[in-house]
Amino acid sequence: MARLLEHQGKDLLRRKGMAVPAGRVVRSVPEARGAAAEIGYPVVVKAQIPAGRRGKAGGVRFAQSEEELTVAVSSLLSAEVNGLPVESLLVEKQVSITREVYVAITADPRLRSPVALLCLEGGVDIEETIQTRPEAMLKFPVDILRGLFPYDVLNLLRDHESLSSGEKLRVAQATCLLYEVYRAFDAKLVEVNPLGLTADEAVALDARIDLDDDALARHPELQVVSAEEAGTRGATLLEQIAAEIDRQDHRGSVHFVQIDPDLSYARQHGLIPFGFDCVGAGASLTMMDELVPLGFYPVNFCDSSGNPVGSKLYRITKVIFSQPGIEGYVFVSCVSSQQLDNTARGIIKALKELYPETGGQPNIPTILAFRGAWEKEALQLLAEHGISQGKWVRVMGREATEKDVAEAFHSLYWEWRSALGGGA
């Protein structure tokens, strides 16, 4: 999923005609002062991070003067908000509004259609509102062939007397603009929370836009860098590098996420970090279930499936081995129809390049479990190229269960540790 930062989302809204406050992205106090002088006080200073609930987390500040602005910018740029470092800020004109509402367009998998969502009570704690008073959320399923028109939204708002007729019209027009953005940019979510209502317009005071990363190739003009979903944090450079492997080529996929990029979780819990690659996400999870109780922790998730070409395995194996601090590598395929000889070739080429002095034999405990189509050819290739004969390599075939693989890795790891002078 490609989650845009607020200022990127507002840029898309602006392109479709939505009113957004005047603002500039800044990365320093002098830049912020220049922006505020241009825009005019009072201003809002907002941390640009790919996470919500910034206001509650202290990521949004207000400044009436240059002094207040300096304090706000200095503190935000040196802080983490929701666990994310703040690298840029949006300095925006503070807008006087008469009321605020929540508006979003997203996909409803149950209805198999886009749906417009409105909450007239504003968007503060919207998740709690949905849980406690679901009736407060108004929904309008959109026929994707017909589209969304202002009168659809006006009909939805007809019985809600808390809005004036003028406000209803502004909300309806804004909702339709959001739908235009949703369709034009292949979004999964376009959310404005809050949509501020003034005397004569509706203003997007925030913007959250999640694009469908499978459609990003249709929008090179956006120059969006995307990687696999990794919770609320931004994609690491290594994840971005891995995402590029699939972007160029749709023959199979290598979904890579760093679970513990700095190894802090593994260290905190006394677990042994290792690099991990699986054919099949289900096999990946069952392997984790076997390995974690034995004291190991995969620092990454990777699903190399859908019959990826050998070059993808080559690239992703280099990526996985390039995570600092790993003390082992485990590759396991589920019993799949994937052409495993090509998978093996990719791994072999990578290992030979990473370990030229040993002909590709790794210096860390390595399990290569090939189970499925062309597994015999894969195992033969590993033997022919001298990988199987590596001191710290164990090659396994179809007869191996996930438990067998985990126990083999456990045994090999402690043998390796013992050889290094660091026994159990």
């Binding site: 590098i241 070059s311 390039s322 080429k349």
Partner: protein, 109 residues
């Protein structure tokens, strides 16, 4: 590589290069054998001496080469080490240069 080189680009963004000056002395023609098993673009010339392409460069770049990597690996083992496949990984060097610690394969164990 110097002299006659057969080069083609592949779908994922990389290059296969074959040093044809080495091929006449190769008895296995391992690159062609593995490629033809995959339905790939390599064939032998009429004299049976050096690899040629059985597809256009644009067909290969659209996916005619399945990037199994077999030509390079088999040539290295059974041929005359004439094939080099270059598969760049964008920004990878930038990543490595920015690491605080060393990666495991650069440690001398």
């Amino acid at each position: 590589m110097t002299g006659r080189v057969l080069t083609f680009r592949v779908r994922s963004g990389g290059t296969v290069s074959i040093d044809l000056d080495r091929c006449p002395s190769c008895t296995s023609k391992a690159c062609v054998q593995v490629c033809q098993k995959q339905g790939g673009p390599l064939a032998l010339d009429e004299a049976g001496r050096v690899p040629v392409l059985s597809m256009s460069l644009s067909e290969i770049a659209r996916g005619g080469c399945v990037e199994c990597l077999g030509c390079e690996l088999d040539c290295a083992l059974y041929g005359c080490q004439a094939v080099v496949i270059d598969l760049p990984l964008a920004r990878f060097e930038e990543y490595l240069s920015g690491l605080a610690g060393s990666v495991v394969y650069k440690r001398g164990r």
